[in-house]
């Protein structure tokens, strides 16, 4: 279990993997799984100017 850094909502590990990005179910902030053991989440990296397809 980890907490959303924005709203504090408890996030369950479920089937998330390291590096995965997902929105916080409460506040919608894009989060990134930074570690799975122990489980940690942080704000997802901010989109940079050269990001894209």
């Amino acid at each position: 279990m980890a907490d959303c850094p924005e709203c504090g909502r408890a996030i369950e590990k479920s089937n998330l993997i390291e590096g995965e990005i997902f929105p916080c179910p409460d506040c919608g902030l894009e989060l990134e799984v930074t570690a799975v053991e122990p489980f940690r989440v942080d704000t997802a990296p901010r989109e940079a100017e050269d990001w894209g397809e």
Binding site: G19, I21, E49, D50, W51, E53
Partner: protein, 283 residues
């Protein structure tokens, strides 16, 4: 596949696309070495990683370019290759290559200074579209309706400071239906295609366009495959518009997303990508 083969996944974040690629690899018994673009270092002599082939899924164009060139230097094949990514990631270079291959594209004029950009806009005619040469997801693109608006936008772009914002890629505004078309090319075939519907003139899925699967016509297939081949081939999303004169190719994306396409068509795009990677590895 030989048990010794390891696929390198060079990535920034794990989105659904990357997760599906990991799952498709696992389903095929292919071990994957994850190479995070924020963590990998690149000495001039290869060490520290096992991958026999690297699939590039980094969302950063700059990181992709240097990394792919390094992998190439180490003798590790990549999908897509450096040459393909460097071409497609720069709209100016991509337009030149498509034109050289005789592929219809929107009328385009490039200018290297703000003053020349005003001339380029006059040559293309209003309304026109101003795009940064490097960039994606419709970011910092502008539809310009008249010279007054053009002066303001060019001034703002110049004020952004980066030299790339003072290179002006000017394109005609194509009068098209509220949609464009995307063909997802893997090797020498189109694995899936879709419409991207949007009331906004930009039809990027990243900007909320709605996707709908489509069966490509012979004309669309031929153009998309020709465009993919012209830039060097691989895993590419070819975007086309229905102009009054017929289909035109407006972009070839070298690290394409396929979440919306998978949802719209039900096609296992990730599986097709991994199968292609394995095919390249056998060459």
């Amino acid at each position: 596949m030989s048990e010794t083969f390891t696929l390198g996944l060079f990535y920034t974040v794990i989105r659904p696309e990357e997760k599906w690629i990991l799952e498709a690899s696992a389903a095929r018994g292919v071990p994957v070495e994850r190479l995070h673009d924020e963590a990998v270092t690149f000495p001039l002599v290869r060490n520290g990683f096992q991958a026999d082939l690297v699939l590039n899924r980094s969302v950063s164009h700059s990181r992709s370019l240097y990394a792919l060139r390094f992998f190439e230097h180490y003798g590790v094949p990549t999908v897509n290759p450096y040459e393909v990514v460097s071409l497609c990631g720069d709209k100016v270079l991509a337009s030149l290559r498509l034109a050289e291959a005789g592929i219809p594209t929107p009328r385009t004029v490039v200018a290297l200074t703000p003053e020349a950009a005003m001339k380029a806009l006059d040559e293309v005619g209003y309304p026109a579209v101003l795009k940064p040469p490097i960039g994606s997801w419709g970011r910092l693109m502008a539809k310009v309706d008249d010279p007054e608006e053009a002066e303001q936008i060019i001034e703002h772009k110049t004020a952004l400071g980066s030299p790339m914002h003072s290179i002006f890629y000017v394109q005609e505004f194509v009068e098209k239906p509220d949609r464009d078309l995307r063909a997802f090319v893997v090797g020498d075939r189109i694995v899936a295609a879709m419409y991207r519907h949007s009331k906004d003139w930009r039809t990027n899925a990243a900007r909320g366009a709605d996707s709908e699967g489509l069966a490509p016509t012979a004309e669309m297939s031929e153009l998309a495959l020709k465009a993919a081949e012209a830039v060097g081939g691989g895993v590419l999303a070819v975007d086309l518009m229905e102009s009054p004169e017929g289909l035109v190719v407006h972009e070839v994306n070298p690290t394409p997303e396929f979440r919306a396409l998978t949802a719209a068509t039900g096609v296992d795009v990730a599986g097709a990508v991994v199968d292609y990677v394995l095919e390249v590895a056998k060459r």
